[in-house]
Symmetry: C2
Subunit: 135 residues, 2 copies
DNA sequence: ATCATTGCAAACACTTTGCATACGC
DNA sequence: GCGTATGCAAAGTGTTTGCAATGAT
């Protein structure tokens, strides 16, 4: 598993250091789109010398190499996603959890954007998740 | 015009001070969803004593009273919208301008979210706008 | 030995908070 | 005059930068 990640990073021109490999692996395994804080707090248990700077540096590098995308739902927290295909995100206002969902189609008023070049598409919903509604 | 705005604020339980009226008016007249900085820099010409704190306070009040929504496109800049109905936003990476567009329909994989309560929906695209493509 | 990566500390940018002043009824 | 709104300065938060130490080849 960790071997695949190394290969994947190499293929994208990223030297697979321990920190980078662990951070990317974390993103793959935690589909809930963690914030920098969450990642740092979890990974520092494994790598005691880890610093937040490295987490930031690593994400900026991953962004440049286009192997992750930024998810901007809340103004004050940046989240990351290792799945760069188009899909939606649902954030629960109560527990803060972020869920992925598939989008079949979006029909927009095409006229307005017909001369625009669209590079990125983002869709997210906010509300209450299944578990929080039960409470 | 300014009278209508006063009335609208009052109706929503907001005392229409000069600052609040001007800020709301600015949002109505500038559909490009300005950042706090843009609003402050423009309005300070009219109201020389204006402070950014007041702009922030006012937006937080408007948010509480649900007469505006936050648009989160970029992590580091919060934009505001006086149109609280669901529509899409397009941000040009080149000139930074934000455009509105209408959404006719979104088809998602309903199963995933069928037990979720959706309170807010946000859709935005990024790319190059008509004018910047010409250059 | 060389070059890239890491990580501390300081700087930055955006937003909120504390509090004294000014304003409106 | 009393209660609210304003706005300065300071604090808070998330992110980036400068740079010295470390690590890999």
């Amino acid at each position: 598993m960790s071997k695949n990640i190394s290969e994947h990073l190499k293929k994208n021109g990223i030297k697979p250091s321990l920190q980078r490999t662990k951070i990317y692996e974390y993103l793959i395994e935690n589909k809930n789109h963690p914030t920098v804080d969450q990642i740092y707090n979890d990974l520092v248990k494994d790598i005691p010398t880890l610093s937040k700077t490295t987490v930031y540096n690593t994400f900026n590098l991953f962004m440049e190499k286009n192997i992750i995308t930024i998810i901007t739902i809340e103004e004050n927290e940046t989240r990351y996603d290792a799945d760069t295909t188009f899909h939606g995100h649902f954030k629960c206002d109560e527990c803060g959890e972020v869920y992925d969902f598939d989008i079949d189609d979006i029909q927009i008023n095409k006229d307005i954007l017909k001369d625009f070049q669209i590079n990125e598409r983002h869709l997210y919903f906010k509300g209450k998740c299944k578990d929080c509604l039960k409470k």
